[in-house]
Symmetry: C2
Subunit: 258 residues, 2 copies
DNA sequence: TTAATAAAAGTATTTGGTACTTTTATTTTT
DNA sequence: AAAAATAAAAGTACCAAATACTTTTATTAA
């Protein structure tokens, strides 16, 4: 398509979805990765992706992705937009923008790999964080000094594929961590992975992961006081465990502001 | 483009840029609107837009938009991504996704309408807020209950064009307000419109606009204490005015986290 | 029955937010 | 030139929240 100023871009639209859940037995936050069946980045681990189709909104595509690629048939989850990635160097062949979403599942369902994936697997977030150095590094998006993004995409080409996530997925994950951390104090949507009821210890485990500290560094008593506006005691105690049973809480509001 | 599952979408990409500045004489936050020269929404006020071209990143397109449509040739400003709008009902003809950005100008330059615009004009944000009811209404994007977004796009078709901004631009602006408000306490990028040095009164004017209160309702002394981590006293006093001269401040950090 | 465990519950101290008052530096008026 | 008006800086006292820490309680394991 041409107009008097140049050729308009009509790129493919990739939907990339960071899918979070929580393992109740290990009390570990989980993130879903798939092993790619086809090139590029064949056999590499990647965030689940799909191309957007005609007659479908991005949100719908994000849901279809969950169904098709991961074999999940769920009704109860929450998806929010993360950001859109437009750098030309992010793909090598035909240009594709990536609309990144985050989905929070209130349980940790069994997975089966769908089309395009050799395998779909839950990973403990702490392991992924360590493996791919998703530290709290500041990401600057200042247009005047967008050097860091440019530098990242330059370096991307030299990477060993088997030691990294496919495409710019580490960059996307890093951004997701930053976003979740920023919202921890006013809109901790990440806690939706804890489902309808949870203990404060479980909430603390998640907070600690994004704050970059050990869970033991957060005092239970103080945590309860500081976040009492976010959690509501539902008057039930947790099931059998060593020590006094923990109370169960729910999120105070499921209204989610943008 | 076809694969075994269906037809992939390759939509046009619209870059929509909300451009903010500050009028030092009236101490009013300003937002830039253009009057559309061509259909659809001919003669309606709209946020500045352009189509993305090949060989150009979305960030570059956002910058080109500033140059071409508004005749600004600036080097010193900051642009950040707001969100991406993908609803099919947002355009009537060929499908177009909109990548919305926000740009903060440290001055309020004169405008000249460029290609596609009959006029480009600065509006006092307070007037725009009132005119288009950009109140603090909660916007829910819960995928399970995305009724509000769907309802919005349904209602959009019935709107009187001359009483509203073009396309879904009121929706986009409302989201921008919400985002700015949320970031006021930890990353008030909106204050970049105040330039290299500003008085606390100027900062208070902007805070008040997004908090939905009168500037007089914010106590100067307390505001200073509460936000002292964000502002740095640069030891200079403001120029001649009635009353004791205000000190000048700068933003403590121009590092911007995502 | 006792020890160990883990969380609830409570306390005391420090920090930060809020409401309010006083002081100071400037312009305008007399 | 002096006094009044203005607007912000600077200070104060009080209340609420965050933090560090201790005690109590409900449970399991030995």
């Amino acid at each position: 398509m041409l107009n008097m100023f140049g050729i308009l871009e009509k790129p493919l639209i990739t939907i990339t979805n960071i899918i979070w859940s929580f393992d109740r037995t290990t009390k570990q936050l989980q993130v879903l990765l798939v092993k790619r069946a086809q090139p590029p980045y064949q056999n590499s681990w990647a965030l689940p992706e799909t191309f957007m189709r005609t007659q479908e909104s991005a949100d719908e595509a994000a849901l279809r992705l969950i169904r098709e690629k991961i074999g999940l048939n769920l009704s109860d989850f929450y998806t929010e937009q993360l950001a859109t990635f437009t750098n030309q160097q992010r793909t090598s062949n035909e240009r594709a923008l990536s609309l990144a979403y985050m989905t929070f599942l209130p349980e940790m369902p069994a997975l089966k790999a769908g089309y395009g994936a050799l395998e779909a697997r839950w990973f403990a977030f702490s392991a992924v964080q360590k493996r791919y150095c998703l530290s709290n590094r500041q990401l600057t998006f200042q247009t005047a000094a967008e050097a860091s993004e440019t530098a990242y995409y330059q370096a991307l080409k030299q990477q060993q594929p088997d030691q990294h996530l496919a495409f710019d997925h580490e960059w996307i994950l890093r951004l997701a961590c930053q976003r979740i951390k920023n919202k921890l104090n006013y809109q901790p949507n990440i806690l939706l992975v804890l489902g309808a009821q949870f203990t404060l210890k479980e909430a603390r485990m998640i907070y600690a992961a994004f704050l970059g500290i050990k869970p033991s560094e957060i005092d239970n008593s103080n945590f309860k006081k500081t976040h009492k506006h976010l959690f509501k005691d539902i008057g039930i105690s947790s099931s059998k465990q060593i020590g006094r049973p923990a109370k169960l809480y729910r999120l105070a509001s499921n209204k989610v502001e943008f």
